[in-house]
């Protein structure tokens, strides 16, 4: 389950934020926000994606750059709001 989620989020980040010709590798520990791959403005669409996909509501005060900085952090954040993960 956790692996499925990891793949789902990693694939989304690659598709949504990297250019087609990018050779950037992304794994569960790659910094996303602090490295500039996802800027704070674009983070909104990541939050919307997570909320729709996992049928959760992430409060704005929890949607911090730190909480979104790696796929692992995101999985942890989603886990806080989604039962059974």
């Amino acid at each position: 389950m956790a692996d499925d989620m990891k793949k789902l989020i990693t694939d989304y980040v690659k598709r949504e934020y990297l250019d087609e010709d990018s050779d950037q590798e992304i794994d569960e520990n790659t910094p996303l926000i602090s490295s500039g791959i996802v800027d704070s403005f674009s983070m909104v669409s990541l939050k919307t994606f997570l909320e729709k996909k996992f049928e959760i509501k992430i409060p704005d005060d929890k949607a911090t750059p730190q909480a979104f900085d790696t796929v692992n952090n995101i999985i942890k954040l989603v886990g806080e709001f989604k039962k059974g993960v």
Partner: protein, 415 residues
């Protein structure tokens, strides 16, 4: 007095952090009018130095043009210094109405409303026209004022990869159930000088029934055959719905901005836009000078054509000398250096050579995309351009980057 030591220490630490991270923005004191050659005191306290300015948005070189200054004087003499009022109380003069009509005519839009700046026009537009059941679909590299404007609006926010039309289409498909969709883009993107694909954006807007909004701040006055902006340049004059733009760049460079578009949207701004309702009116001297500028550039394309020729010359020559630039046609010419420290050091050395330019790096541009942004003006003469080109070649030689491409520069200096 409640400004405690705790607060003092907190802000002081924040500022130290900004400085230690190399992100401190310093002001340089200019002791002359804005133009191609300026007198600058930098660092503060040092002797005044004459340098060539290659970092102003003074595209048409009108910031200190004698006819513009004379028109501003006339406005000051005939309509006074300030109006001590917002527009809807007692801050609207006949010349404000005249300027709004002239802007509508120049941009070929139905109606126009003035704002104190384009920042405020962008802060107003989305909040006034869109609500929770609507979607804002924005290019990811839009100007910070648009980002802030969207943050003030309750509509759902989506963004697409920079100038990526497939990604924009995905977002339009995702938002089919929304009441209104607005596609939001800069006409010219300020860091790269690249132009939005407005023809394709308008095609998608037609296909998915979306409103097209363009911030044309880096275009109004000189992009397109008659300088009307990117909608003219891209051949979509009647297909862009709303334009926001500034009078603070090519159009004299003082201040002021506007929303230009359908009379209903402009009407809504006039009734509900908080930055319009609660900010003072644009001062008469600026309004009078702006009217003069529209008259000047409507009658004569000379400055626009000179700017175009200058940009082309600079781009070609700087490439010949081995500098790596972002390709394009716009007077914003990014000289790519990739490494932040290299961009800072080169800008410093260029200043010593009498060329005033600034290095840009993360977070202003993406990580690993550090550059010096050169801005060309119609005020530049050929000898100014040659001096800058020679200085870039000299400083580029010092850092051994001439003829080097991205990978080689990164290999030498890192990201």
């Amino acid at each position: 007095m409640a400004y405690s030591n705790k607060a003092k220490e907190f802000y002081g630490t924040e500022l130290t952090g900004i400085k230690n991270n190399g992100l401190l923005k310093e002001e340089r004191f200019i002791k002359s009018p804005q133009r191609a050659n300026i007198k600058v005191e930098y660092p503060v306290g040092s002797e005044t130095k004459e340098v060539l300015n290659f970092c102003a948005n003074n595209y048409l070189g009108l910031s200190s043009h004698p006819e513009v200054i004379a028109a501003a004087h006339k406005g000051l003499d005939e309509r006074g210094f300030g109006l001590s009022s917002v527009r809807f109380i007692c801050g609207t003069q006949d010349i404000h109405d005249e300027l709004e009509k002239k802007l509508s005519e120049f941009l070929k839009m139905e109606d126009t409303i003035l704002f104190p700046s384009c920042m405020e026009a962008n802060a107003a537009l989305f909040d006034v026209t869109l609500d929770k059941e609507d979607a804002m679909i924005s290019d990811r590299l839009v100007h910070a004022s648009i980002v802030d404007g969207m943050r003030l609006c309750k509509a759902q926010l989506f963004n697409y990869k920079h100038s990526n039309m497939e990604h924009l289409e995905e977002k339009l498909q995702e938002t089919q159930s929304c009441r209104f969709r607005m596609i939001i883009t800069d006409g010219v993107f300020s860091m790269d000088g690249d132009i939005a694909k407005l023809d394709k954006i308008c095609d998608l807007a037609d296909k998915y029934d979306a409103i097209v909004m363009v911030d044309d701040s880096h275009s109004t006055g000189f992009m397109g055959k008659n300088g009307r902006g990117t909608h003219e340049h891209c051949g979509v004059m009647d297909r862009v719905d709303v334009i926001t733009t500034t009078l603070g760049k090519a159009m004299g460079g003082a201040t002021g901005g506007c929303v230009s578009g359908p009379k209903e949207i402009v009407g809504m701004c006039r009734q509900r836009a908080r930055p319009y309702l609660f900010s003072n009116t644009v001062p008469p001297a600026i309004v009078a000078a702006s009217i003069k500028i529209i008259d000047m550039i409507s009658k004569n394309n000379e400055r626009r054509d000179k700017l175009e020729a200058n940009a082309l010359y600079f781009r070609e020559e700087i490439k010949k000398r081995g500098l790596d630039i972002k390709e394009g046609t716009h007077p914003i010419v990014p000289v790519m250096l990739y490494n932040a420290k290299l961009a800072q050091n080169m800008a410093k050395d260029l200043y010593a050579e009498g060329i005033y330019v600034i290095g840009f790096f993360f977070p202003v541009v993406a990580q690993g995309q550090a550059r010096i942004r050169v801005q060309i003006s119609a005020d530049h003469e050929r000898e100014h351009l040659d001096k800058a080109i020679n200085a870039f070649a000299k400083v580029g030689e010092k850092y051994k980057i001439l003829g080097k491409k991205k990978d080689e520069i990164i290999a030498m200096y890192g990201l």
